[in-house]
């Protein structure tokens, strides 16, 4: 059995793998499957016991022919009826034992294997949540999903059958062969003859099958991606009547998949032909030889019967090797695919101690913040069992599975992170004091190391360097070629404490990218960003993200109630009062007319809200925790004029208390800010008040003035706008600008008050 994976008892050496880009193809199936060891380890005792039980059960089956021989050669030949009864009783006992043992095997592995699958899935989910955003940009979620579902099912099936039965069948075959050799060695040798060719065939088969199996799985992933996109983009497909061409693309992909599956079938057909024919021929030869020997009186009839029924009892173990190998092969590629994702480096500082492990799971389950999910799991919900009993085994108390796996985490963890065992990102726990200031954040166990915490704590708010500061920031997407122009090239920007800075730039100038750097969704390539003087790379991400609240351009709501969706911005320490305040700021009164008010379910599994409604909830989410720093990416784009005006008024009060960076496309949004920064060509090319920039910066005027003159324009009936603004290849200074300046904005020179105290400015701004 050349490909029999190492039985679970064999200590699997943990290999630290090379870079993730490694072509996985050249790894052998056994090596791939060995990587499952950390997940199997907690249930190894069960699995081993089950394998032993299965071996015993199989061998029990092999003893039955011997009893038969005894009956035939003994009581039957002697016409001893009492002996026949005894023989039948033996048979019955052996039969019962076999039945119970096989059942026991399944009972032993049922819960543990479901647990292994679940913990691998949980580990994948946990890991994916912590992989850099850049990773998710590269990987379609369909590919990730197929790893979390189909691939893991294949792995579970492998652990349930091929792993055990390759062992069991091998032992059964060996024992069977020994029995047969013992009965009559000549016949036994004849039966053994095809073993070598069968092994060669299996070995050849394994090589080729693994390639095709991998191909098929990848194609399934592509298909999943297409399905997902077609569902998510359904409005566009419908809007352009493109469902047919989409269906064609789907058909092509699924036909390709069909071709690959058929190639798999051809390989299977070949191996089955060999695996069935060769042993059967050997049995035939043994039969002929045996018959001759019986005729010559060299062999008893009972021995021949026993011999042949042993040979036939071995038929299933031998034949099954074909599909067991196929299943193993598929499981191996599934494992490879799984670890392709698991090997990707998570964001530093967010590494989880091998999430999948029971110990970690038990510990992470409890901190479900009451605020985040008011609906309590009542009754016998077994899930967040904080008890040491590992969830993997469910109700079955299996002491062997409890021990944690201290050796496992190191292989996947970022080296910097001390294996803080199973610590939930404390940022969300209710125990956090709700002061969002950096200095108040308690030492976070998730921190990359003590020094970082020390820095955070030791640095008081330094007025000179306070606020949000970009210092020669250069950024290039990690997967962009080295020589490509960076998206952001030496950005220097200082948002003073308490100040609101608008960020203006042409379409695609990198505004959104810039905002993504603040909460470290992407890492700066060069330079640094500081919050109140502390480099954001020196503080734990959880702390950073607690300090900085973001409203994304694309307002994503999760499957939860409206209230939960908003309150998730506050990290668990906000209640109804904060919720009401945040909803008031974003003018989201519509929630009160929803079927269940703030308890209405939204997102994937609930009510679908309009873009404007979602945007208002996303805004409420950003402001609900009274964050120290606020990053808003075009927060009012989907609002109607009336609502926009109301939100702006309310938002002004919020902005007065925070340091904020607001991406703006329109003057109305710009006017929320004290100063404006113009992002152009990857740099901040100008900073000043709206009016200063309108006067002095041609590009800014070009970006903004249109809206200003619209105010005038809308009052004029029937004007043809297309010829009003010549398309400028570059920035132009349109003649309306001075005009516009007069019409817009407060003329109070907001930029001249950098050192003002936060609260007094509220009313002064913009009025």
């Amino acid at each position: 059995m050349p490909t029999t994976p190492t039985p679970p008892s064999t200590p699997a050496e943990e290999r630290s793998d090379g870079p993730t880009g490694d072509p996985p193809r050249n790894r052998s199936a056994v090596r791939s499957l060995l990587r499952l060891w950390p997940y199997v380890r907690p249930v190894r005792a069960r699995l081993l016991t089950a394998a032993v039980v299965a071996v015993v059960a199989s061998c029990t089956g092999l003893v039955i022919p011997l009893v038969l021989k005894w009956i035939v050669d003994g009581p039957v030949a002697d016409r001893d009826t009492g002996g026949v009864w005894l023989g039948a009783l033996y048979l019955l006992l052996l039969g019962c034992a076999e039945a119970v043992l096989f059942g026991l095997r399944r009972w032993l592995v049922a819960r543990p294997l479901a647990g292994v699958e679940a913990s691998m899935r949980a580990g994948l989910y946990r890991h994916l949540q912590r992989l850099p955003v850049a990773f998710h940009d590269r990987w379609p979620s369909g590919q990730l999903l197929s790893r979390g579902t189909t691939d893991l099912m294949l792995v579970r099936m492998f652990l349930a059958f091929p792993l055990t039965f390759l062992l069991v069948n091998s032992v059964t075959i060996v024992v069977g062969v020994v029995i047969m050799l013992d009965q009559e060695w000549t016949l036994g040798l004849v039966l053994l003859a095809p073993a070598l060719p069968v092994m060669v065939v299996c070995w050849l088969f394994e090589k080729r099958y693994s390639q095709v199996a991998r191909q098929a799985q990848d194609q399934v992933g592509d298909l999943t991606t297409l399905v997902e996109e077609s569902v998510l983009g359904i409005r566009i497909i419908k809007g352009f009547g493109r469902h047919r061409s989409q269906a064609l693309a789907f058909r092509d992909l699924s036909r390709t998949l069909r071709g690959t599956e058929l190639a798999k079938a051809r390989l299977l057909a070949a191996i089955f032909a060999a695996i069935i024919t060769l042993p059967e021929l050997a049995v035939g030869a043994a039969l002929v030889l045996g018959t001759v020997q019986v005729a010559d009186g060299e062999l008893s009839a009972g021995t021949l019967v026993a011999f042949l029924s042993t040979a036939l009892a071995l038929r299933w173990p031998v034949e099954s090797i074909g599909f067991l190998l196929a299943m193993s092969q598929e499981a191996a590629t599934a494992t490879e695919r799984y670890f392709e994702v698991m090997d990707a480096e998570p964001e530093s500082g967010t590494a989880v101690p091998a999430g999948a492990l029971p110990a970690a799971r038990a510990a992470t389950a409890p901190p479900r913040t009451p605020a985040a999910r008011p609906a309590p799991e009542r009754g016998p919900e077994p899930t967040p069992a904080p008890a040491p009993a590992t969830p993997t085994t469910g109700t079955t108390p299996a002491p062997t599975t409890v021990p944690g796996n201290p050796d496992v985490p190191e292989t996947r963890e970022a080296p910097a992170a001390p294996a803080a065992p199973a610590t939930p990102t404390t940022g969300t726990t209710p125990s956090n004091p709700d002061a969002p200031g950096a200095t108040d954040i308690p030492s976070n166990p998730d921190a990359p190391g003590p020094p970082a915490v020390a820095v955070v704590r030791a640095t008081p708010v330094a007025p000179v360097v306070g606020g949000l500061r970009f210092d020669a920031v250069r950024f290039r997407y990690p997967d962009a070629p080295e020589d490509s122009a960076p998206v952001l090239d030496l950005v220097d920007l200082h948002v003073r404490p308490g100040e609101t800075m608008a960020l203006v730039g042409g379409t695609g100038s990198g505004k959104t990218t810039l905002t993504a750097l603040v909460p470290r969704l992407h890492e700066v390539t060069e330079g640094r960003i500081t919050l109140d003087g502390v480099d954001i790379t020196r503080m734990p991400r959880a702390t950073l993200r607690e300090l900085v609240a973001v409203a994304f351009e694309e307002p994503t709501l999760f499957s939860a109630s409206v209230g939960e969706n908003v309150l998730m911005g506050a990290g668990g320490h906000a209640g109804a009062a904060e919720l009401a305040r945040a909803l008031a700021v974003s003018q989201a009164d519509f929630v009160h007319s929803l079927p269940h008010g703030t308890d209405t379910q939204v997102g994937e599994q609930g009510l679908s809200l309009s873009g404007g409604q979602r945007q208002r909830l996303a805004l409420a989410r950003a402001v609900v925790g009274s964050p120290r720093f606020l990053v808003l990416d075009d927060p009012l784009s989907a609002l109607d004029v009336h609502t926009e005006a109301l939100v702006e008024a309310a938002l002004r009060r919020v902005l007065a208390g925070t340091t904020a960076l607001v991406v703006a496309h329109r003057p109305s949004t710009v006017l929320l800010a004290d100063r404006v920064a113009l992002l152009s060509g990857g740099r901040i090319t100008a900073v000043g008040t709206h009016h200063e920039l309108l006067r002095t910066n041609a590009e800014y005027a070009w970006l903004m003035s249109g809206a200003a003159d619209t105010a005038e324009r809308a009052t004029e009936a029937d004007t043809e706008p297309s010829d009003r603004r010549p398309r400028a290849a570059g920035p132009t200074a349109p003649d309306e600008t001075p005009d516009a300046t007069g019409a817009t904005g407060p003329a109070d020179g907001t930029s001249t008050r950098p050192g003002r105290t936060k609260d007094t400015t509220t009313e002064g701004t913009g009025r």
């Binding site: 039945a99 479901a114 999903l145 969300t428 379409t507 679908s608 989410r621």
Partner: protein, 618 residues
């Protein structure tokens, strides 16, 4: 999904249902399928492959025949060839040898042939089923998609299809093999010895009962399992698609905990199903081994008393081992059958959904363009619209939009603007009344004709994976690269596209991760421009554009799209100003109607809005 299904609630499902779920089948992920729909679906999938199915069956029949000759040859060898050989008659032994070689070769070859034939059948069925689910999901109307989450649709076409694949590729062969060997072996046993055969056949009764019991119990478990995995998928997909907010709001731990609940529920049910299988295995093995012991006891007695040949007993015992060997596998078949049945039921439920916006059976063509303008007239003729769940959005609404004019629709959220747009784009059909395009009811137009007539650009600018050029070409698949670039230029998107790493051939990757929202809206516009429709609907389509971008769009509407009928839904008054006419909507009614200037000069809501807007600027 979170609500208990029709099965008895158990601890796994004992989670509070979302308050609004009521009896909505959408919430329980169990769409009603007509009775026997599952079987009908399976039949209709297999019907076109009748010949291949027959071929596969015949191959398997022969293969089993070849396999099952073994013990017969053993009996013959012991009872005939041995005595013959002792008489120096080598004939019977040679016959045995030849027969064995032939049967071995045949068994192998036929097995090969069967695998190939059945793989063809399986793959064709899966291809068909995948295609059906996909096409049907695409044909279903927007209101369906608004209620049936994408995660569920994905799970229908992945895990549910996968479980059918398992049934077909492993299960079905098992079933046929098992049934065939039952039939063959019973027949041979009866032929060898009536009494022994009868005992074997009798043992089928308790086995059958066991199987039924298992099937019944496992069926319920599998149905729950399929629901549980779908919940896992929904959560998984939602998280991965919203990874940015997940990160920014530190949702990781909470998500882990939520996922753990769903994952654990699935784990429990998964374990339950395996335990059920264990029970079945014990039961069936016991019955089988009991029967073997009984038959051996009786047979041995008869051999001892001389009424049965030894070879017959040997053959009978060999056959019995074979007879009961596959009962485990029968359990595995039942496993995959149950899980496939549960999946197929869900798929059948999906396929049974009737598109609420069906294509006409007998489409009408649009009349030739009346004027040299490419625009067409739009009439809302006493249209009413209410959502299925209740709540009238448009109470009796009539409106005529003359060809070639640009109409802006403004109003607060929920005023019915988007509904108006969706009715005109035929994303929905009106509850009563008609929407006419040049006098033709939209419901009578083929999809092709309709989309040449009406195109809608929405705020949500989704990009498909593929290149930028391919994304624009969605507007008109046969467009040349020049056409695509012309459209992009007209909308002012050419510059940024050219600046991308591979220009128009840049892969937008995962839903345009690297292309900003504003740029995506420009691509969406280029699409619409390329489609060159008679009626263009812009539903908040410029929300993420900066002022120059918006200008470019407006310019394009006055140049490339000049003469088209345009409906512009906008929150921003700068967008509205290009309109010939402005409609102000409130609670599903038009409350003001006139040119922008007229309305601004008046005292109505538009004037208020305009004033508020100006205030926000000043």
């Amino acid at each position: 999904m979170t609500a208990p299904t029709t099965t008895a609630p158990t601890d796994e499902e004992d989670r509070p249902a979302p308050p609004h779920s009521g009896g909505d089948p959408f919430d329980r992920d169990s769409l009603p399928a007509p009775p026997r729909a599952t079987a009908a679906l399976l039949r209709s999938l297999l019907a076109p492959l009748r010949a291949r199915v027959a071929l596969a069956t015949v191959l398997l029949l022969l293969q089993q025949a070849a396999v099952q000759t073994g013990p017969l040859l053993v009996a013959y060898a012991i009872d005939r060839a041995v005595p013959a050989f002792r008489r120096d008659d080598h004939g019977p032994l040679i016959a045995v040898a030849v027969a064995y070689v032939l049967s071995a070769a045949a068994a192998g070859a036929l097995q090969s042939g069967f695998i190939l034939a059945s793989a063809r059948v399986n793959q064709d069925v899966l291809l068909d089923l995948r295609g059906r689910i996909f096409r049907h999901a695409q044909a279903l109307s927007i209101d369906f998609h608004e209620r049936y989450t994408s995660g569920r649709l994905i799970s229908r076409s992945t895990t549910d299809v996968e479980s059918l694949r398992e049934l077909l590729s492993e299960g079905l062969q098992e079933l046929v093999t098992v049934i065939l060997s039952f039939v063959y072996i019973s027949a041979v046993l009866l032929w060898l010895d009536l009494g022994l055969g009868a005992v074997a056949v009798l043992s089928f009764v308790p086995l059958y009962l066991l199987i039924r019991l298992y099937q019944h119990r496992a069926g319920r478990i599998f149905s729950r399992r399929s629901t549980a995995i779908a919940a896992v998928i929904v959560k998984f997909a939602e998280t991965m698609n919203g990874i940015r907010p997940v990160r920014a709001f530190r949702r990781e731990a909470v998500n882990d905990a939520d996922f753990h609940v769903l994952n654990h529920r699935h784990e429990r049910i998964n374990g339950d199903s395996m335990l059920e299988m264990a029970r079945y295995v014990v039961g069936s093995r016991l019955v089988a081994n009991l029967a073997v012991a009984g038959i051996v006891l009786w047979g041995a007695h008869r051999v001892a008393s001389g009424t049965l040949a030894l070879g017959v007993l040997a053959a009978a015992v060999l056959y019995l081992r074979r007879l009961y060997d596959p009962i485990d596998r029968l359990g595995m078949f039942l496993n995959s059958y149950q899980s496939a049945a549960a999946s197929l039921e869900k798929v059948a439920g999906l396929l049974a959904q009737v598109p609420s916006v069906p294509e006409p059976a007998d489409p009408r063509a649009l009349p030739a363009l009346a004027s040299r303008h490419p625009g067409r007239e739009v009439v809302f003729d006493d249209v009413r619209f209410a959502y299925r769940t209740g709540g009238e959005v448009l109470p009796s609404f009539s409106l005529t939009l003359p060809a070639g004019r640009t109409v802006a629709v403004v109003g607060s959220t929920g005023a019915g603007k988007s509904t108006l747009a969706k009715l005109l784009a035929r994303f929905y059909d009106p509850t009563s009344g008609r929407v006419l395009l040049d006098g033709v009811d939209l419901r009578e137009l083929s999809v092709r004709e309709l989309r040449r007539g009406v195109v809608m650009v929405t705020q949500e600018a989704f990009l498909f994976s593929g290149t930028v050029a391919e994304n624009i070409a969605i507007g008109r698949p046969d467009a040349t690269r020049e056409d695509i670039e012309r459209a992009a230029r007209a909308i002012g998107a050419h510059d940024f596209i050219s600046a991308l790493p591979d220009g128009y051939d840049t892969d937008v990757r995962k839903r345009g991760g690297r292309i900003s929202a504003g740029q995506r809206q420009l691509v969406a516009f280029a699409r619409a421009l390329l489609a060159d429709p008679a009626v263009l609907i812009l539903d908040e389509a410029t929300s993420s554009l900066d002022v120059p971008g918006e200008r470019a769009v407006q310019r394009a509407m006055h140049t490339v799209l000049r003469g088209r009928t345009a409906v512009v839904i906008a929150h921003r008054l700068s967008t509205v100003e290009i309109a010939d006419r402005v409609l102000v909507m409130e609670h599903g009614r038009i409350v003001e109607d006139g040119t922008p200037a007229e309305l601004v000069a008046g005292t109505g809501r538009f004037a208020d809005l305009h004033r508020a807007w100006r205030d926000s600027l000043a």
